[in-house]
Symmetry: D2
Subunit: 155 residues, 4 copies
């Protein structure tokens, strides 16, 4: 297992807005696509299989993102996905989006809960997922929690 998992994304015309840079909301699409790729790669199944075949949902209950550099279709985006915290029923992932030259574009933290997708009630992280997540952390995919995220800078 290689860690961290890297997700590459071509930035498209449809991602831009009239400021001729990527529209804010698209950054969340980028992060979610990277996380979905991580599920597929590390857990061995994507959200569709998880929901439809296993009746397990992973609704996101908290999302936070710092955006430090705009993106355009001239950039190639590479997202690294790290495990920040694996709880009893929740999982916090960090997604670091970088440009080809290594410049950080965004730093996102996404927390989801594992639920029974029919009752929408929390369930413990199933052991068959906990094991590969722990292995992923052991292989270098974890992250040392930083100090509480900086609040919006005084400016």
């Amino acid at each position: 297992m290689t860690a961290p998992y890297l997700h590459h994304r071509v930035i498209t015309w449809g991602d831009t807005d009239a400021a001729q840079i990527v529209y804010t909301v698209r950054f969340f699409d980028f992060a979610m696509e990277a996380i979905e790729g991580w599920f597929r790669s590390v857990l061995g199944l994507d959200w569709y299989a998880l929901n439809i075949d296993r009746h397990i949902g992973t609704p996101f209950v908290n999302v936070a993102m710092d955006i430090s550099a705009p993106l355009t279709p001239r950039d190639h985006l590479c997202c690294a996905v790290h495990v920040e915290r694996l709880g009893r029923a929740s999982l916090t992932l960090r997604v670091l989006g970088r440009k080809e030259d290594g410049t950080e574009s965004f730093d996102a933290r996404h927390t989801c809960c594992f639920v029974n997708s029919q009752s929408m009630t929390a369930i413990p992280v199933p052991p068959e997922f906990r094991t590969p997540i722990e292995a992923y952390c052991g292989a270098g995919g974890g992250i040392t929690p930083r100090a509480p995220r900086r609040e919006a800078e005084s400016a």
Copy 2:
């Protein structure tokens, strides 16, 4: 001036995902639409006019959201937009999304910077915007900053 500004949104089929609830990223669309409506209502111009006519951009540098209840097209969403902080060159807004029965669905905090949209360098919030923003806060559109947002719950 009525405060807080309220933005109503019909939830559509296209907002849903295969879990038969609104897809996570759509919550950010909802919050951004509410904020754009607030700009139009309180500042008197939307982002398009701001960028194209005034060469002023407002890139978002930090976005955070707690999602506490899922949404479906059965819900009618109402977003209240509050000013949390008006800095020298930045603005932090809180968007509280509620269902028709008052249930909170999400609580978002968005911070943007005012920039010259050609040089992408920060500029002070223009006085003609500062004045109506302060009036909006005076009319009850401000918000007492809460304690630092809760981090992902232990679960």
Copy 3:
């Protein structure tokens, strides 16, 4: 019943692309939102209720659109929805998108089939939908089919 049904839409910043006009794909969002509004208004239920409560789906099998004028957030879009053809198991709607001054922006034709959403097999249009659709046509919501859509112009 008033016909044709009109669907109003604020054009937002998020609808634009780097050409500083609405991105092509958003026109299809506009048309679909108008059609969904028409279902809600004329049939009395939206696609979510139709699928979840009635197990009826309406997948679109053919979509065609002429785009004659770009849109920006300075425009207010008004879509008129007409019934072009009600078949045994299918429905063809025309959506005419106009700006506030009456300029036509797009002319779309969408054909959906009624299916059992679990087996995905075609079903006849249910009588409780056929009746209001026919009433809508009787009230002026129908449209005389035009000659076959113009193919891409020689240019």
Copy 4:
């Protein structure tokens, strides 16, 4: 030059709707992404470079699509892009979307015009684009125009 150009796309969770298949409008995103990839591959530059660096826009004036099979995140989509017609100032592309097993999912025809992106007036297809497009057709990337697209089937 290999023809036709093939564009591969992972179907994601965010592409689905509450019917647990890909939402209609996403098919247009898929086709546009394939076309943008074709521009990049065959013309050597994407829409962003074309617009920003060359002040050339390619607004789409007509789009038509037959959707014959639904898609889910279990599918891997492969789009083949063919040139159907190269006019004086316009270009018609066909995008055939197939699943991994070869099943056709959609067949789209997109016509764009070349314009000066500042005046939005039509311009002849620039020779440096006409040459590679003709070479692409010569290499097998063209398509024999079919009879006029079938109208919505009687059903």
